[in-house]
């Protein structure tokens, strides 16, 4: 059952455009305001607080906007019971089981994410550490690269 005006409420384009513009303007204003914050702790905290508030406002606005602007199926329409009320045709079942291979990829993501986390602190002291630091990080990365070499050769990351 494809998207069909007959089954859905008519969307109101003007309202959509207004909401979009409000959001854009709001995010621009909040960013500009956050940038004015200075370095003293109190002001930094204030900026952080303001930033979180603006994020909350944006997220809230989006949710509220979606509540009003979404394309809804009429109560009596057969679309009402489908996964997507907007009329999108679902392919297959909604409940599919993910293949374990996603899990391997995710695991490697976590591992190399942690690895990267250990490299941030090096990045800020790279000058002071000099050659010795390079050797330390080199051996750290070298050992991990052996694992990557192993995984590559074993085709662990190949989408079987």
């Amino acid at each position: 059952m494809a998207y069909d005006r007959k089954h859905t409420d008519k969307s109101q384009d003007l309202r959509k455009i207004t909401a979009g513009l409000t959001l854009l303007g709001g995010s621009w204003a909040s960013t500009a305001w956050a940038q004015t914050a200075q370095d003293t702790p109190a002001q930094a905290w204030l900026a952080a607080l303001g930033f979180s508030l603006v994020s909350l406002v944006i997220a809230g606005t989006l949710l509220v906007a979606a509540r009003f602007l979404r394309v809804r199926a009429r109560q009596d329409s057969p679309l009402k019971t489908r996964p997507y009320e907007c009329g999108e045709e679902p392919l297959g079942e909604t409940r599919i089981q993910f293949h374990p291979r996603y899990y391997v990829v995710a695991l490697f993501f976590v591992l190399f994410d942690v690895e990267a986390a250990f490299l941030f602190p090096w990045a800020v002291v790279v000058k002071r550490m000099g050659g010795a630091g390079l050797v330390m990080v080199g051996s750290f990365l070298g050992i991990l690269l052996l694992g990557w070499l192993y995984a590559l050769r074993k085709e662990a990351l190949r989408w079987q």
């Binding site: 293949h99 374990p100 695991l107 490697f108 976590v110 986390a117 330390m136 750290f140 085709e155």
Partner: protein
């Protein structure tokens, strides 16, 4: 109350509330909702770290935990993919009651200890000399590559073992590419069937697949 205290109570309260929402209905009934509550809790914790001047830790908490680890959690939830009717209604058993009592005891103990022992504690003034860079990324980096060099290098071995272990446990077969496919293991039997069907078409085209894949599928068609 100072600003710090107010922030502490907001962040701490938020973390506790999000953790509670993880387990209790209505959010706690669905695994995905629990996972999202966990993310919220991670964010509050990151705020607490920032409050303690551990900015790097706060950022890493979000990058690694709320980012990477949660991806892993989500994949596991989707891998298991329990239907609502498959999840059992929680039943109260003697073991659970005992566990609850023990847990309550431990929590009570922790709360009392923290309450009693922190009464006389005095705050460290980070404004005093010697603490200017406390918790900064620079300071952490410097410590990591000097006094904590040994654990740092050992971490790489730990990560390597984790990667190798993941490959061994999750990979379909540890045999090499040019070896014929062994019979599917207990884990693969469910998927082997579906695998065969979805890929049989491309196998005959014979492009991207490793030789053993093509062989195995060709063999299964005869």
């Amino acid at each position: 109350m100072t600003t710090e205290q107010i922030l502490f109570y907001i962040l701490g309260g938020g973390a506790v509330a999000a953790s509670a929402a993880m387990l209790l209905p209505p959010l706690g009934k669905s695994p995905i909702h629990s996972a999202i509550s966990l993310i919220v809790s991670f964010f509050f914790l990151a705020g607490l770290y920032a409050l303690l001047s551990a900015h790097l830790l706060g950022a890493l908490q979000i990058i690694v935990y709320a980012g990477a680890v949660m991806v892993l959690f989500t994949f596991v939830i989707m891998l298991l993919n329990l239907r609502p009717d498959e999840t059992q209604e929680p039943r109260i058993t003697a073991g659970k009651v005992l566990a609850g009592v023990l847990a309550a005891f431990v929590v009570g103990k922790v709360v009392t200890v923290v309450g009693l022992a922190s009464a006389g504690a005095k705050a460290v003034d980070l404004a005093q000399p010697g603490y200017e860079n406390f918790g900064s990324t620079k300071e952490v980096g410097y410590m990591l590559y000097t006094s904590f060099l040994v654990p740092f290098e050992l971490i790489s071995v730990l990560l390597l073992v984790a990667a190798v272990g993941a490959v061994i446990l999750a990979k379909k077969s540890l045999h090499y590419v040019d070896r014929p496919e062994p019979p599917p293991s207990v884990f693969d039997q469910e998927h082997a069937h579906e695998h065969m069907h979805t890929q049989s078409g491309t196998d005959h085209a014979g492009d991207t697949h490793a030789p053993h894949d093509a062989n195995a599928h060709a063999a299964s068609h005869h």
